[in-house]
Symmetry: C2
């Protein structure tokens, strides 16, 4: 085999995302871009907020010397202090910059965490439905992704988790608010996860880490505060990104943090920094760190997303769709009126609406739509949603 075996498999079956991107382009060329309602995207189409633009211009114009060079692999101290202070306020935990590493977004953070922790053959437990890239990420380092099927309400199934934990379990990952459901984990669930990990860790004499994918934790609606796993389990590594909050997904900035009371926490942090260096990230891009540091609040789009969610949810429920109401993020999971979710996604495509079959996220019988798109795209899709539903009844 000329290339790596595991990758041969990956490239011969292109991801749904890449197939959809290609289809979207074909349809746009055929019908005109304004006629296509692409709700398959995970790439926010809102422009970055004026506050970001202003800081970017101010910083670039100031021409401070030395600002495009390498810095410490963990990132600028000032950024790490800022993150530590924010997390102190949000969690009450005693974070310092020595637990914060700036990364190339959440995806970079996840790879750094997996590389830092996993030996080949060790297991990651993930609750369905979940972001499908977790599996190839952990497999990069010989880790194994073990999937717990979704319960009826999409809450993590703690009994199934208890059975799934083995002496080979290195970590459990949760994503709250979740992609694709938008649901947040309750305090009871987080406490339950902590209990299981503590009990099983003691039984097997291992440290089982929790990885808290907090990518959407600052995009939570209705004034709700998203409970954080960090507040329930000390052996937690949390990570997030500025991509969604600021609509800058292409710029690659986010961070990971190690709980201040994590067992062997200094080694874990050292491992993340080592992985950030040796995976070739070297450091999170300098210019973006310099800009983000000057932005006190990064949740400027919360109200917009809440409005978009309300519109989409209200309309679809009104038509007769069964919709999982997202508490945060910018994705919505809808029950497919056909048992075969891919077949209904094809039906939607006839009405020039692009969605992602739930099977992609281990949620068969559902499909995922995004509301990180312009209002006119959501509004324009409503007619097609109505017709598609009527056509399969």
């Amino acid at each position: 085999m000329p290339i790596a075996d595991k990758i041969q498999k990956g490239i011969t079956s292109p991801t749904y995302a890449s197939r959809l991107a290609a289809e979207s382009l074909t349809l746009q060329n055929q019908y005109g871009p304004e006629k296509i309602f692409d709700l398959s995207v995970s790439n926010p189409v809102l422009e970055p907020p004026p506050e970001f633009v202003k800081e970017l211009q101010t910083f670039v114009d100031a021409r401070q010397s030395g600002t495009h060079r390498y810095m410490e692999n963990a990132g600028y101290s000032a950024n790490r202090v800022m993150v530590a202070e924010q997390l102190k306020r949000e969690t009450g935990l005693n974070f310092s910059k020595d637990e914060v590493i700036m990364t190339c977004g959440s995806s970079g953070a996840l790879n750094v965490v997996f590389r830092g922790l996993f030996n080949p053959g060790e297991e990651l437990i993930s609750f369905a439905p979940f972001y499908p890239e977790y599996a190839p990420y952990v497999e990069n380092y010989g880790g194994i992704c073990k999937i717990i099927p979704a319960g009826p309400d999409f809450a993590p199934d703690l009994k199934a988790m208890e059975t799934a934990v083995t002496p080979k379990t290195k970590a459990v990952i949760i994503n709250s608010p979740n992609n694709p459901t938008g649901l947040i984990c309750s305090q009871e669930t987080l406490k339950g996860i902590s209990d299981v990990l503590t009990r099983k860790g003691a039984e097997y004499q291992t440290t089982i880490y929790a990885i808290s994918d907090d990518t959407y934790c600052r995009l939570v609606f209705d004034g709700v505060k998203c409970p954080r796993l960090l507040n329930y389990y000390a052996n937690t590594i949390a990570l997030t990104s500025y991509s969604g909050e600021l609509s800058i997904s292409g710029e690659r900035i986010g961070y990971a943090v190690v709980h201040p009371d994590c067992q062997d926490g200094k080694d874990v942090f050292g491992a993340l920094v080592y992985a950030n260096r040796t995976l070739g990230f070297v450091n999170c891009p300098a210019l973006m760190q310099n800009v983000i540091r000057r932005l006190p609040d990064t949740s400027m789009y919360l109200k917009d997303y809440q409005r978009k969610r309300n519109y989409l949810f209200g309309k679809l429920v009104g038509m007769g769709y069964k919709v999982v109401k997202p508490a945060g993020g910018f994705f919505m999971l809808v029950k497919s009126p056909l048992k075969d979710d891919a077949a209904f996604v094809s039906e939607l495509k006839k009405h020039l609406i692009l969605a992602v079959p739930g099977g992609e996220f281990q949620a068969p019988g559902y499909f995922r739509i995004s509301f990180c798109v312009e209002d006119k795209t959501l509004e324009g899709a409503m007619n097609g949603f109505q017709k598609a539903l009527a056509s399969v009844k």
Copy 2:
């Protein structure tokens, strides 16, 4: 072990680079930054050229919509077309954008290439002296770094290479101009490498790739054109970075290319794109791609570096040091007046000069100094170099 075994080893023995950075800081605090002559750096201290600054400001002020979003994992088409056109001019080979992937610098490119090609247990052949990060990079994916000792003139030892190639050899890596020597591979050497790989590949019925680390190939002095492995061996993947050429090492931009006639070239390219996505880079940072694309020429500092090299080389030789004259890049390898290079590096430190022992690069008995520093740093170090040499005679 709480963290990955291989990383435990890595973090308990910090790199020379990180120890030096810490020492440099301590010395600067103790004596004042202007008294310290830090020639251990690989982080160019020149500011980015005015052309870069102008394009950055122009681009940021123009506020084109959609420019901070994800793009294709391989990067913007326009950047890839630009790179293909440049490589066509430089090599005469028929490159298209479909062989070009934009990466997070050379380090990102190397990881993407190693992840794309290597199965656990497969071997990378590297000629000493070499950039020490090659080993942890390939080990991320279970690859094994096999080192060919340096010959007396630091040219790749082709006989030793022929013996080292086994059925497990996935690739050979060369770096020309080389870090730490600054030497470029001759056409004869490149042809020799090609002959060995072709012969051994046929014998073992394998495809052996060549990885051409061209990080410094546009920083070559005295009007010399650096011969490119791409012109001698079709199964070549080449990579480089804009870090050194533009003094923007913290911004993480570079690229990798697959030779247009590479065997299974489409699969190899697909593997690189897949690896760029699943290693969590996702894409090379958007803003930097948008700026670089508008810069027709990125070798604006060639004359400065040539002047710095001439000064440093002339002065040290004049004092009686034996120096390998670099043909390119911004590093210089100097024979240690003491057999123990680390001991002489300690001697230099007494004179507030920081250098890197050659042992770090598999070049024992030498030390490496950088000339990507300000003139006053080079000039200020000369007295110390003189005294250090006198003190060990």
